[in-house]
Homo-oligomer: 142 residues x 2
């Protein structure tokens, strides 16, 4: 990631990997799977040159992945964006659907977390009782 200009314009695939937290394999896979808005430009017609907008897009779809959107769904979304302006309403619907799913997911996890905390409290209690019932071996240490 050598800085050659005041504002770097593009990045190698390993730079992109470092910037997004994905592996180079995953980045190539994403492109093959049609997740990028267009074919990532190549330098000298071979090596990929990720632009800032490409990095930004990968970072966004990584958020979608992390919240459970499948590769297939992201592909559909990318196709929409690719097909140009005019379908903002559709895209909005897709995003709002996803938002709702994520919100539901969040509530679910909160419920599970509460149950896990409850279980943890039970263990604390049980351990406390055991200590109270057993004669202390050494009160001074640790």
């Amino acid at each position: 990631m050598a800085i050659t200009e005041i504002e770097p314009r593009d990045y190698s695939i390993s730079d992109a990997a470092a910037l997004t937290g994905l592996s180079v394999h995953a980045l190539r896979y994403y492109e093959r799977a049609g997740l990028m808005l267009d074919r990532v430009p190549r330098a000298a017609s071979t090596h990929r040159r990720y632009r800032d907008m490409d990095i930004g897009w990968v970072q966004f779809i990584t958020r979608l992945r992390s919240t459970g959107m499948s590769i297939r769904q992201i592909h559909e979304y990318a196709e929409m964006v690719r097909s140009g302006d005019g379908n903002e309403v559709e895209r909005l619907q897709l995003m709002e659907q996803h938002r709702q799913r994520v919100e539901a997911q969040l509530h679910e996890i909160e419920g599970h977390l509460a149950a896990i905390r409850f279980k943890i409290d039970l263990y604390h209690e049980r351990i406390a009782n055991r200590c109270a019932l057993q004669p202390p071996t050494d009160r001074t240490s640790s």
Copy 2:
């Protein structure tokens, strides 16, 4: 799930599936994978008869699964519980580790959700602008 007594004591595998939200396949798989505390008792030495405690256990490990704990990890936890009392501290540690992971996961999802909401707001804006710039075709309809 025919109620034969005042308090039903056990359930068929399809009852268990209904009660836990898992498939009968998954229930058998869980048992094979060593996730149950002990072999689920059989009636007439063939059909599984899930007791209340089995159902409860499955419901709990389903929470662990839903919060991202792997089958392998749940197996380890089940082995601990199986090996009897005396390792409550270890079990507690395992659960607290998981709790922390889930809490981190929760915060991450919240961050992603914020980004998704931001994107949605952008769409709303863009759609509003488009409508403002385009001459209305029919002000009376819808």
